[in-house]
Structures are given as C-alpha cells and as structure tokens.
C-alpha cells in the first residue's frame, strides 16, 4: 500500500539533517513515496515511525525476491500452526575453477534434475558460483554461463572487482555472498538489484552485520555458517524463533545454509533455511530430497490433489480391470503404486473429492454412488473397457449396492488397505 508523501513526512524526524542523502525530509518522503529511496537510509527513525511507515517491517521475517522466486515472510515456528509459506530454494555449488566442459556437465545435470510428483514438477532452483580461480574475467564468464541455465544465481566472492564484474550478468535475480566488508558488497548488490548474504562467526555477529547492512540494502539474507552442523541447526532455529516470537528485527531475514550431504540438506530445509546448498547432483538422492521439501512445505490445510481422470497403470487395455478411488494425492499415490507393483495393468478412475481421502470423502458425501457415477459418465469410462465392471475400495463396501443401481455398472469390492492390492490384483486376472 503506497503512502502519500505527506503521510510519510508526518512520521519523519523533520530535522533536514541530510543523513539519508536527500536535502530535506520532505524530499526524502517524496522519494520514499515512489520507492526511489529506502526507509533504511534514515538512521533516525524510531520503532514507531518505522512501524507506521513500512508495510515490510510488519513482516517478522522479511521477504526477499530472487528472480521469480520469493523467500522469507514466514509467520510460524511449526508448520502445524498454520503453514510454511515459501519452499526452501535448493542451490548447487560450483567453483569457477572448473573447466568449461565440467561446467557444461554440471549445468546440464542441473537442468535434468526434474521430477513429476503429484502433478507438480520438482526442480532445483539456483546455482552458487564460488570465486576461486583468482581471475575476475573467468569468474564473470562462468557466472554468465550459469545465469543462462537458471533463474537465480549466488556469487560467492571476496574480491570487490570480481564481484562487480560478475554482478552485471545476474541483475535482479541473485545474491552476493561475502565473508567480510559487508557494507561494500551490499552497495554493489544494491546497484544491481541483488540481495546481500550477510554472515558472522556467531549469531550475535550475524545480527550486528545485518544491522549495519540494513542502512544500505533492504534485501538481506543471513548466512548461517558457524562451523558445525549442530551450531547451524541451533542458529537457524533461534533465528526463526527470535524473529517471530520476539520480533527481533536484526535477525528477521531469510536464512542461507550449506549442506555437506543430502541428509544434512534435509534437516536444513526442515529447520528453517530458506536457501540450502548442495555440492553434487545425484538424482537418486535428489528425488527423495525434493520430495521431502514438497511434503514439509505442503499447506496442512490444503492437501495436494490430483485431477479427476482415468489413469492407465501399466499397459492397460480394454480388458484391464477398472478401479475407483478419490483424488487425495496421498490416496492416489498409494493406490496407483500398489497396483503398479502388482504388475497387473489396470485403469484407475480418480473421482474429484476435493482432496479428501476415501473415508473422509465418503463421510462428507463427496465420494458417493452419485459422485462416482457422475465421474464415470463425465470421463466416458464405458468407452475405455469392454465390461462395465469396477472395483471400489473396501473401506466403502457399503456403497456397492447403491452404486450398482445408480451407475448400471457391476461393482466388486476391493481390499481395505492399499497394500493388500498387490495380492488382490492377481485375483482379478
């Protein structure tokens, strides 16, 4: 919500001290109104003024945009309190001292790490390039190549010139990570519309450095790299709790953590890191990791759903059996997985029950003789099989009579548990 110049001016000190870089407070207010200046430029605002002026400051953990993605703006310590708002971004680390072909291989593997789960595409999100070659031009070149592959890049660099060069290729869609001189690097970051990742040797130091940088940048990320897995997990938890429970401003920013292996990455993404880096691409470990992220970041109040449709499992043909279930993604996944394991090809007709499971859907009348019949007709299931026979879940056996009457199909009752499907499917042959 944009505030008018005069509204803003009311909350400023009105001393015309010029510390913000403008000639007068009114001039500063005008700049703020059109977002040409930042609130942090005025070092004399008290909490009240800050609160009155900035919608952003209402966020316990500031939100940060990196290209198309948003992180931060988290409001709870436990997902069951409401939900986690933004998925952790997973970031691959590479060194600019790698050869061109190695870099090509890494970016190619990065792009291939794509999986389809519950109708959602799971992917990696960012690449971090470390300046290790000592050659600023090489660094800029590698960063540029990485930037062509992915929408978000972090440059890790302790050399001002190298950072400045490389920042040009990633304007508006990345971050700079440095070990010290945060203020200097923050300026470069700001110039190029990048976030600044601020660290320290202890939580107190990180908070101090963040505070220093707020005067320069409003896109800050905290680097939680305290020397051990334990200290990092502890710090990540404390940051989340202090920001939300105590509204402690200097740690109210999204956090960044580096994982040494996939299991550690899993813990970091469960424990509040908004960006987690990994060192290698191995699809056998990434599929589980991305699935974990999908699970933890699912809104507890909005279960994932699958589209109403007839899904072929295996080489299903017109003689294959037809089974019916609900569109709760977990139900769909469990059932289709078990049918698939049985090696008996089948059609799985998924009824839209608004994401409810079999029993819940039945209790709420979303999974009934009427709704199943409607789905059968809408999906033209009769065209897909030679015999009008279907199997319903054992948990709703009582529906079989009514469903036969309503649909005109013959109804058989399947097992109560998805895992019993494997044996059951063999009997359908």
């Amino acid at each position: 919500m944009a505030l008018q110049t005069l509204e803003i001016y009311k909350s400023l000190p009105k001393t015309n001290c010029r510390d913000c870089g403008c000639q007068t407070c009114l001039a500063f207010a005008m700049q703020l109104a059109v977002q040409k200046a930042r609130l942090g430029q005025c070092p004399h605002l008290d909490e009240k003024a800050r609160a009155a002026l900035s919608e952003e400051s209402e966020m316990a953990i500031k939100s940060v945009r990196i290209g198309e993605r948003e992180i931060g703006n988290e409001t709870v310590v436990f997902r069951h309190e409401k939900t986690f708002n933004h998925e952790s971004l997973i970031c691959l680390e590479i060194s600019d001292s790698l050869s061109d072909s190695e870099i090509g291989q890494k970016t190619s593997d990065f792009l291939k790490a794509k999986f389809d789960r519950v109708g959602h595409i799971l992917t990696l999100d960012m690449i971090l390039v470390r300046f290790e070659s000592g050659d600023a031009k090489r660094f800029a070149c590698v960063v540029d190549a990485a930037a062509k592959a992915v929408g978000g890049i972090i440059i890790e660099c302790n050399d001002i010139n190298a950072a400045r060069e490389a920042a040009k290729s990633i304007s508006g869609r990345g971050a700079i990570l440095c070990k010290s001189n945060h203020a200097e690097f923050a300026c470069i970051a700001r110039e190029h519309g990048l976030s600044i990742i601020v660290g320290g040797n202890s939580l107190a130091e990180i908070a101090e450095n963040a505070e220093t940088v707020t005067k320069i940048s409003d896109s800050i990320i905290l680097n939680v790299d305290l020397g051990s897995f334990r200290d990092n997990v502890r710090a990540l938890t404390q940051i989340r709790r202090m920001a939300i429970k105590q509204r402690y401003r200097n740690l109210g920013f999204p956090a960044f953590a580096r994982a040494s292996d996939t299991a550690e990455a899993g813990v970091y993404l469960m424990r509040y890191a908004s960006i987690v880096t990994i060192k290698e691409i191995d699809n056998s470990e990434l599929l589980p990791l991305l699935t974990l992220r999908q699970n933890i970041y699912t809104d507890p109040q909005k279960p994932l759903q699958v589209e109403q449709s007839v899904y072929p499992i295996g080489a299903a043909n017109k003689d294959s059996p037809l089974l019916v279930t609900t569109n709760f993604s977990l139900t769909y996944f469990s059932v289709s997985s078990e049918i698939s394991s049985s090696k008996v090809p089948a059609h799985l007709l998924v009824v839209d029950t608004e994401g409810m499971s079999v029993l819940t859907g039945y209790a709420a009348d979303k999974f009934s003789a009427e709704t199943v019949t409607r789905a059968i007709n809408k999906l033209n299931a009769a065209e897909m099989v030679n015999r009008k026979q279907l199997v319903i879940p054992g948990l709703v056996a009582q529906m079989s009579g009514a469903l036969e009457d309503e649909s005109g199909w013959k109804v058989a009752v399947g097992p109560r548990e998805a895992r019993e499907l494997r044996k059951f499917m063999a009997t359908l042959k």
Partner: protein, 309 residues
C-alpha cells in the same frame, strides 16, 4: 545484545531404559543444540519368516534372511541399539506357526542377542492374545512389546504387565486417539512410565508430513505438561520399502535404485528424529548407518552423554 533464547518448559518426556541405554527424558524440543540432547535409539527389524522384499533391500542381507536367528545375528553387527522381531509367521493366514514354535525361535534369538528386543505379533487380534502372552514370558524383563491398539489392546497389555515389559501404544496419526490409548492403558493397569507411543510413521512422499506434525504436536503437549502424552515416541518405518521410489528401476531419470531406496529411508528416519522421535526402527543397514552418522555429527559439539552414540 541478543535477547535471551534459553527454553524452559514445564513438562518433561518420561525416561525409559532400553538395555544399557536410555531413551526419552528430554525437557526441550529436539535439535535445539542445547547440551541436554540425547541420541535417539536406532534399530532394525527382522521377521520369523523370510518376507517379500524388493531387491534393493534384500541385497543388503543376502541369505541372512533365510533363518531368523542368523538374520538377528547379522543385524547385531550393524550397530543397532535394539532389535525388533515380528512374528508374522504365526499368522493363521500364513505359516500359522504355533505359540510354542514362535517362543522357541524367540528364545534362540534372545540367547544370542546382546541388544534388547522389541517383539510384535501378527497384527491379527484373535491370534495375538495368546501369542503375546507366550512371547512375553520368554522375553527378558523390560523388553518392549507391541502393539496395543484401540481394538484388542487388553491381551497385549496383560502380557506387558504380567512380565514387566514396556508396551507400545499405537494410534493412527491422531493426537486424540494417542491420548485415549494412553488413558485406556493406564486405566487397565499399565504405569505411565512403561508406555512408548507409536503415532504411525508414514513414509516419505506418502504422508510423511502428517506424522512429522503429529510428533511435533505430541512433543509440545508433553513439554507443556500433559502427563498423558509425556511418553517417548517410537517410529517404525514399516512402509518405506513398499514405496515405488525405494525400488523402481524403470525410470532412468530417478537414478540408481539401490541408493535411492537407502536415501528414501534415511530421509524418512531423519525427519521423524527432527520432529522428535526417540526410537526409530528401520530396515536397511546402510540407511541406519547414514542416520547414525548424522546424529553423531549433530552431537559432536559437546554432549553430556558421549556414551550414547
């Protein structure tokens, strides 16, 4: 100056003894890095028969699974804190072993076991009444028996009381049923300190987040002072190797099936522990080792109980 961040809770999780080690007893949330953390206990599970297993899991055991006593011995070498034994063989719909046969096998396993045992029946309520009684008598005192569920818990509970064992109070991802089970058990005569809760661990990708949040809520309730929920939590990863992702070889983009299955189980275990599980029963020895390594790495910076690792 950072604001004070120490946590003080009113409640505490009950502490139980599992062989030479302890589980539970914490007075704060897991993975907070304060010095009172204790390593969760890890175990593997065997059955008295050779069960069907996907290749990716079977590969870890070779022919050890041909005989339960050999299988138990194999597991002991994997660095476990306890061993779970499930008597699926006594199922009337399967091998239909007699109580005596089952007891004989258990005796043999126990004689050779250096770790404490956790024993499950068949899951068939009618069968388990007598079975658990028999097995309960064979077991050394302070072993663990499971599961006590809403229907048919009395005979399992009786076996626990008569033979001085811990009992697993099972609930299907429902905090109200969890509490109700504990009330039923304590009213039946089980002491609160002898109960271990199993809120049903769902596998990664197949409901993990439900188990994760229930466990966090159970821990918070206990730490807030709810004595009827202050029992340590056990997670048995029964379903992980039923997940397609733990064994499927038909998707080249999914990478190596063996490694994938191991990571599928590792991340499931690690999530349960992050949420607050005190004991995790796993299946693949490598997944167990990975989990143990991570726990050790976490506790590295000073622990009051270095012997726990």
């Amino acid at each position: 100056m950072l604001p004070a961040i120490e946590d003080r809770y009113m409640g505490r999780i009950n502490e139980i003894t599992v062989g030479l080690k302890k589980a539970g007893g914490e007075d704060m949330l897991p993975l907070l890095g304060f010095d009172r953390n204790r390593a969760p206990l890890l175990g593997l599970e065997i059955q008295d028969i050779k069960p069907e297993m996907p290749d990716t899991l079977a590969a870890a055991y070779g022919d050890a699974t041909d005989d339960p006593v050999n299988w138990a011995a194999f597991c002991e070498k994997q660095g476990i804190d306890l061993l779970s034994v499930r008597f699926e063989g006594a199922n009337p719909q399967g091998k239909n072993r007699t109580d005596e046969e089952a007891a004989g096998i258990l005796k043999c396993i126990q004689e050779n076991a250096r770790v404490p045992l956790l024993v499950y029946g068949t899951g068939n309520k009618a069968r388990d009444g007598l079975l658990m009684d028999k097995l309960g008598r064979v077991l050394r005192k302070n072993s663990i028996i499971g599961n006590a569920e809403e229907e048919g818990y009395k005979s399992v509970a009786a076996a626990a009381i008569a033979n001085d064992h811990y009992i697993i109070s099972f609930s299907p991802i429902d905090i109200n049923i969890a509490k109700q089970m504990n009330i039923l058990l304590t009213e039946f005569g089980i002491k609160q300190e002898r109960i271990i809760m199993d809120p049903l661990a769902s596998a990664l990708g197949y409901g993990l987040e439900y188990s994760y949040s229930i466990i966090e809520r159970l821990k918070l309730a206990a730490l807030a002072g709810d004595k009827m929920l202050s029992m340590p939590i056990i997670c048995n990863l029964t379903d992980v190797w039923n997940c397609k992702e733990s064994y499927d070889t038909e998707n080249p983009s999914w990478g190596d099936a063996g490694k994938r299955g191991i990571m599928w189980e590792t991340l499931t275990a690690v999530s349960m522990i992050t949420a607050g599980a005190d004991i995790v029963i796993m299946r693949h020895p490598q997944a167990l080792k990975n989990t143990k390594k991570l726990i050790k790495r976490y506790l590295q910076n000073g622990t009051t109980d270095p012997g726990d690792i």
